[in-house]
């Protein structure tokens, strides 16, 4: 593996990890994409380097190892599919909340706080929102497109 390729894989992993740790969903998705590409670059480099592996064009012992390349193609396709699904999910999340922040798990907060324990989960979501609105953070703007719908009504 050449130093340049190793550096590329390392950089992709580093940037991907940084983005993954962000709170915004869109950045998480881009981060996952970069991480996947980092792994793909790593995989391509795991085989032998050499000439294009086409029979009849040179000595087979000089050929690059075609197996990792074909495997990486499969991995790229899988990554493409899952990223598309993730983007669709993020869009759905944005339609529902007008925001692409990753929220805490509500049930975890219930167990931690115990104060809300008699309320339905969606009620707590409202409570949390009210608390945040009182902190002057505008959360529920009206949308121009499809109206925002909260959890259970759907």
């Amino acid at each position: 593996m050449s130093v340049v390729m190793a550096g590329t894989a390392a950089a992709l992993f580093a940037i991907g990890t940084y983005l993954l740790l962000q709170r915004k969903l869109s950045r998480v998705i881009v981060g996952l994409g970069l991480l996947g590409h980092g792994a793909n670059v790593l995989f391509v480099n795991s085989g032998r380097r050499g000439l294009p592996p086409i029979i009849g064009q040179g000595d087979p012992s000089d050929f690059a190892d075609p197996l990792p390349q074909s495997l990486v193609l499969t991995a790229i396709v899988i990554g493409f599919g899952t990223t598309a699904l993730l983007l669709a999910l993020a869009y759905r999340s944005w339609l529902l909340t007008n925001d692409d922040e990753v929220e805490d798990d509500i049930e975890d907060r219930l167990v931690a706080g115990r104060g809300y324990s008699d309320l339905e989960v969606s009620d707590v979501a409202l409570l949390v929102d009210e608390a945040e609105e009182s902190d002057d953070i505008p959360r529920r703007r009206s949308t121009t497109g499809e109206p925002a719908v909260t959890g259970r009504e759907r």
Binding site: M1, L20, L25, V28, L32, L35, G36, G38, A39, N40, L42, F43, N45, S46, G47, L67, P68, L71, T74, A75, I78, G81, T82, L85, L86, L89, A90, R92, S93, L96, T97, V102, E103, D105, I106, E107, D108, L110, V111, S117, D118, E120, V121, S122, A125, T150, G151, R152, R154
Partner: protein, 497 residues
């Protein structure tokens, strides 16, 4: 016999395509799905009989010889897992058809469900590390769709966590594959088993550790389990049931397969035992803290993963055999418990303990189908849980790891406590009077929901009564895992030029 091997993967994939074509006719769609899942179960029985006679059955798809081609291989371990999975998948599909909700409202349910079952079967049957990656991706991608099927806010939120964590595990898996290929020049499991011995011990430990992390995320091993109890309970009941029964077990299957075949003795026993103990304890303590039927059960999944890893960590025939018995038992039990949980939610209108009560009187049928697997989970004698747990504890005692024996017994008692918490909250007592909205009474669950659950309940009793033959079979399977010579020769020998 080897011609049967691709069928558990190909039949569901074909069925998935067909059920999209006939999507307009819901009855035809269901017929296709049920026919496919039944025939997969039939093939699994045939495979089980075949591998118990011939040890290992292998085939090379597309006639490329072993280290390069797509190897499908069944040994005793994969055959019994495949059969158990096929039965659980069939039962849950019938339940899903009966339940108002998920399956009825979504045209794509049956085809996505079939893709999930193809992925599970492929993960059990593959003889190649990269195809294991593809199989797990196939299964997970289907599960992403199933877990967010309703598109509700809580589903999207927890589904997002689930998808992101799973994708990180996939990226790590891909990196592990790259390192493995760079080190050995192959990713065929049998070929790897031969070549792994030539590597320096540091490289082997690194690869073993990386793969343990990857499959640990999928299995919900401590400390990588946080996503599981957040995401599983939001899905519709049948979906949660099949996730609880199968998906984590595929992770455990991959851990057992790779650690026994590729890295025997590479990771120290105390390390795996420590992970196992922490997983058991955290799972059961988490379960005690919860107030919701589905969440308690989700934490108990994690606890049970600890027991399986404990059996593996001993690395004796008795330990691994007990782990396999326990896995089979857990697939049946966890599926049944979540199906019963779905019926509680259907009839009681909620799954929160504070809103439910007195169902032993109002819905005795549900009480019975919950009680039997719950007692089996706790390990009360006539049921399968007793046999599985006894075999596990016996193997631990035989290996003289006394401290983890103590942990396991304490965890079993705490499991009984958390199950009793559900029992007291749901079946005895009254709904909390302070509750503003007491759940309205609903009609009894439809027969199609009750029937598959009752069959699974019967299965746990049968497994308990037939524990002797089951354990003997699993001991033979564990013997194959400890000594993989037959596996290696069968895979590398068949079809080689």
């Amino acid at each position: 016999m080897s011609a049967l091997l691709p069928l558990p993967v190909l039949l569901p994939l074909g069925g998935a395509a067909l059920s999209i074509v006939v999507g307009r006719w819901r009855a035809a769609q269901r017929m296709v799905a049920l026919a496919v899942l039944t025939s997969v179960a039939g093939v699994a029985v045939a495979l089980l009989v075949a591998v118990d006679r011939d040890d290992v059955v292998a085939t090379q798809a597309g006639d490329w010889y072993a280290p390069l081609g797509i190897t499908l291989v069944a040994d005793r371990f994969s055959a019994i897992m495949l059969l158990t999975a096929a039965c659980a998948l069939l039962a849950v599909d019938v339940y899903a058809i009966g339940q108002p909700g998920a399956e009825r409202n979504h045209v794509g349910f049956q085809s996505v469900y079939l893709i999930l079952s193809a992925g599970v079967a492929a993960a059990f049957l593959t003889g190649d590390l990269f195809n294991l990656f593809v199989a797990i991706e196939m299964m997970l991608t289907a599960s992403y769709v199933l877990i967010t099927l309703g598109g509700r806010l809580d589903q999207v939120r927890s589904g997002m966590t689930y998808v992101v964590i799973s994708l990180i595990a996939s990226v790590l898996f891909l990196a592990a594959l790259a390192f493995t290929y760079a080190a050995t020049g192959t990713i065929n499991l049998a070929d790897l088993a031969v070549r792994m011995g030539e590597l320096p011990s540091g490289v082997r430990s690194a690869l073993a550790g990386l793969l343990l992390v990857v499959f640990g995320i999928k299995a919900g091993l401590f400390p990588l389990f946080f996503w599981l109890p957040d995401s599983y309970p939001t899905a519709p009941a049948p979906v949660t049931a099949i996730f609880a029964g199968l998906l984590t077990k595929v992770g455990v299957y991959a851990i057992i397969r790779t650690q026994t075949l590729l890295f025997p003795g590479v990771l120290p026993t105390w390390l795996l035992l420590a992970f196992a103990a922490a997983t058991m304890l955290v799972g059961v303590l988490g379960a005690i803290a919860q107030d919701d039927v589905k969440r308690i059960l989700s934490f108990l999944i994690i606890s049970s993963i600890g027991f399986m890893v404990m059996g593996l960590a001993l690395f004796t025939v008795a330990g691994i055999a007990a782990a396999i018995v326990y896995m089979v038992h857990q697939v049946v039990i966890k599926t049944t418990l979540f199906l019963a949980g779905g019926m509680i939610e259907h009839t009681g209108g909620s799954s929160r303990l504070s809103r439910l009560g007195d169902m032993a009187r109002t819905a005795p049928l549900i009480a019975v189908v919950f009680f039997v697997p719950a007692m089996s989970l706790a390990g009360i004698p006539p049921m399968s849980g007793f046999a599985a747990k006894f075999a596990l504890l016996d193997s631990v005692a035989a290996s003289r790891e006394w401290w983890i024996l103590g942990v396991a017994i304490a965890v079993s008692l705490l499991t009984l406590f958390s199950i009793a918490k559900i029992w007291l909250g749901v079946f005895w007592g009254q709904p909390d009077p302070a509750e503003t909205t007491v759940a309205p009474g609903r009609p009894r669950p439809p027969a199609l929901m009750v029937m598959p659950t009752a069959l699974l309940v019967a299965a746990t009793i049968v497994l308990g009564l037939a524990a002797g033959p089951l354990y003997d079979y699993c001991a033979r399977a564990a013997g194959d895992l400890i000594d993989p010579a037959a596996y290696v020769t069968q895979v590398l020998g068949s079809g080689a030029p």
